[in-house]
């Protein structure tokens, strides 16, 4: 009896803790961070808009940024009824989130000299009464949240030298603002840098690639560590209970030719070129590495691990685990214990795969199909990724991940050109092509991270390059290059609603509420750089429209 009571008590505690876990990653009235919460689920607990009434969803307001030369990729941040939005050229707006009325705007000055890299910005971070963002000339900037007034800016690196810049939204953790940077495909050594939110002063920097004398440097040949890439070019996640920041790192450079960076006799079934193509856990206060998990040892396919990191608590093999879910660019997805880095499972979302013949349950690559100097090798998925940078979403109600998957291949012809600091160091051509024998080249999938099984899939002819949003109304939202923004039933994938916004989607939609009214907001405007350009080239008869407009939907007033 006592034993049984204990069991019941335990069950109650267990239920409470898992209820907390269900809550931890959900947003409510606000959309406070890039990934929703810092668990990066892109999931809203709001359910006013749901499978029963989504058909009535209609535009409530729109905001045209005026920055039309590029696009709008940003995830809007919403706090206390105010939305913070950044455009490709770092024009920042604070808007009344219920009406779209502008409260303030700030224009980051155009750098006096042209800088390398594409023009784009994926979002601001809000915290400590400030709005933070990164720039194409590698500054981190802090504005006053109330007025938009510049408070401080600091140069993270010389863009002309490193060839790097900051497109990703920063991550604010306690009294620090943390950013990564681009140019993982260049002769550059990636890093993550933390600054004091208050003063902008350097708090810590963690280099993806260890220097001489540091553990892991021995996984590099000679001085190749100096230009080994690994740039962590997206936004990390944070678990306050563990005080750990989790971040994905870029691929090793040179991308397609490894002879100059891999030590003689290296065992490719183990860590090579640390800590590229890895997920890392860093102490939030010091930036010290706590654990790492390298997803692709000696990557030769431009398979970054730079993507979003989802944190959730799930029962695995009868035991509640603090889980971390992370997808490599290849589509190979790792499920880890986020306290220890222990690998709990692996699944692969790509339908067409030639880079390996198989992936074992413990994440080992079987039959590596490595590009060879002097030859051309067809590889699937392509360097555009089985998924691009656009985020997946996770719903605790269904327990499923919602993933936009691409089916592309490429013909890799490597070269062995020497590195030149900051310059492109991919060492290969890799014209993209459509995966053979198909009529559709992307799909929205629902995956169970515990079983590694796909619950449903919805094919799409062209390429899905916008992030996913999941809501407690059991809806999944995303947009396509043709301009359609649509809602799927989270349980079945059935399309329940769609709206033609007039321009292609490469942004990230969010949900929030003001005075009890739920809104769904999405960035619109196709982007023609990098994967967008490659995608356009694959479908030359298509005319995917540029733009820079935020479109916000709600149920009609009075219908609730």
């Amino acid at each position: 009896m006592i034993g049984r009571m204990r069991f019941t008590l335990l069950s109650i505690l267990f239920t409470i803790s898992s209820a907390l876990a269900q809550d931890a990653g959900a947003t409510r009235a606000d959309w406070p961070h890039y990934g929703g919460t810092q668990f990066s689920w892109r999931y809203s607990a709001l359910d006013q808009i749901n499978t029963n009434n989504v058909k009535a969803l209609t535009p409530a307001w729109m905001f045209q940024t005026g920055d039309y030369a590029e696009n709008l990729q940003a995830t809007p941040i919403v706090q206390d009824g105010v939305m913070y939005l950044i455009t490709a050229r770092a024009r920042v707006f604070a808007l009344n989130a219920a009406t779209g009325r502008e409260i303030w705007n700030y224009r980051y000055p155009e750098p006096p000299r042209s800088v390398p890299g594409f023009v784009g910005n994926r979002g601001v971070a809000v915290g400590d009464g400030k709005v933070f963002f990164g720039t194409k000339d590698n500054n981190v900037v802090a504005l006053d949240q109330k007025t938009g007034r510049l408070l401080w800016r600091v140069s993270v690196d010389d863009a002309h030298q490193c060839g790097c810049n900051i497109n990703a939204a920063p991550l604010v953790v306690k009294d620090k603002v943390i950013v990564g940077g681009t140019n993982g495909d260049g002769a550059h050594r990636g890093y993550i840098t933390a600054f004091s939110t208050k003063t902008g002063r350097l708090a810590w920097r963690w280099y993806v690639i260890p220097g001489p004398g540091e553990k892991g440097n021995e996984t590099w040949k000679g001085d190749s560590w100096r230009f080994g890439g690994g740039a962590p070019w997206l936004t990390g996640s944070y678990d306050p209970a563990l005080n750990l920041v989790f971040w994905g790192t870029g691929n090793a450079a040179a991308d397609f030719y490894d002879a100059d960076r891999v030590p003689a006799g290296a065992d490719k079934s183990k860590d090579v070129n640390l800590y590229t193509a890895s997920v890392v856990a860093l102490d939030a206060d010091t930036g010290k590495l706590r654990w790492h998990h390298q997803e692709v040892h000696d990557d030769q396919w431009d398979f970054d691990s730079a993507y979003e990191v989802l944190l959730m608590d799930r029962e695995i093999r009868g035991r509640m685990r603090q889980v971390l879910v992370h997808m490599n660019k290849s589509g190979m997805t790792s499920v880890l214990d986020r306290a220890t880095g222990e690998l709990l499972g692996v699944f692969d979302v790509a339908e067409v795969r030639t880079w390996v013949t198989g992936i074992t349950e413990d994440g080992k690559l079987v039959g590596r199909n490595e590009p060879q100097l002097g030859k051309t090798t067809t590889i699937c998925p392509s360097a555009a990724g089985a998924k691009s940078w656009n985020s997946m979403a996770y719903s605790p109600r269904t327990g499923l991940l919602y993933v936009p998957v691409l089916e592309l291949c490429e013909d890799i012809t490597p070269n062995n050109a020497p590195p030149e600091e900051g310059q492109n160091y991919m060492n290969g051509d890799f014209p993209l092509k459509l995966a053979p024998g198909r009529t559709t080249y992307s799909h929205v999938d629902a995956w169970d991270p515990v079983t590694g099984k796909r619950a449903w899939t919805v094919p799409y002819k062209y390429l899905l390059l916008a992030s996913m949003l999941a809501t407690a109304g059991d809806l999944v939202f995303t947009g396509n290059p043709e301009g359609e923004f649509f809602a799927l039933d989270a349980k079945t994938g059935n399309k329940l609603w769609s709206y033609q916004t007039g321009a292609g989607h490469r942004g990230s939609s969010v949900s929030y509420a003001v005075n009890g009214r739920q809104f769904i907001a999405t960035s619109t405007g196709w982007h023609v750089s990098v994967v967008g350009a490659a995608a356009q080239g694959l479908f030359p008869d298509q005319d995917w429209r540029l733009g820079s407009t935020l479109v916000v939907f709600a149920l009609p007033e009075g219908s609730r």
Partner: protein, 250 residues
Amino acid sequence: MKGLVLLLMVSVAGWCQSPQDALKQGEQVFAKSCATGYCHGAKGTASGAPRLAGRGFNQAYINNVVTRGISGTGMPSFATTLSRPDLTEVVAYVATLNGVANPDTGSDNAADAAPALTGEAARGAQLFKEAARGFGRCSTCHEVDGLGISVAAPIEQVPASVAALKALATPNVKTGAMNGESMPVLVLKDGKQSTLFYDLTSAPPVQRNVLPGSVKFTDGSSWRHSSAIASYSDAELDAILAYLRAVIRP
């Protein structure tokens, strides 16, 4: 003076070089900005974007496309993303891929070409901006020859010796007192609307913008140039001075 330094920089970067050098430069610009694999392939082959070599394009057409982009395609305008010399050179390079024998490279002043750095000066150039030093390198605060962050005013006079470099007087660095904290600062603007200064407490310097009157500046500071360059040995500083003497002309 700053204008003069800038002019010198630009001329070194592009205008005063031989057509051969300009085409070589154009090839490099092409490699980093166009042949990124996601777009065009190396030497104008096809990759994510179409082939450019042997298409019969003339230079005017190439210039037009590079400057304006092609609406509705992946081809962007490079008018603002490439410097003027880079743009001219890359257009000339692509023209050669299309059989144009002597394209306009914008380089009609070949005699003034800046000599390449050698020996000690070349080593100094590397040390000046050495990435492995993180924020301990000179280029954290100095822009020279188009590289580095221009926190400090342009270097006009090169110190005569390592000892002089370490003992460098820095009268511009003052002490700012704000919210009970005092910090070494470099004042940029102390106007009616805002007060803008670099906080030099730690590297990298932070540009801060505060309301007028909220910070009080006094002459002198605890900041020392010798601390900022502490990551370098004397021999390395010697090489850096050799570099500066080679590129900074009074």
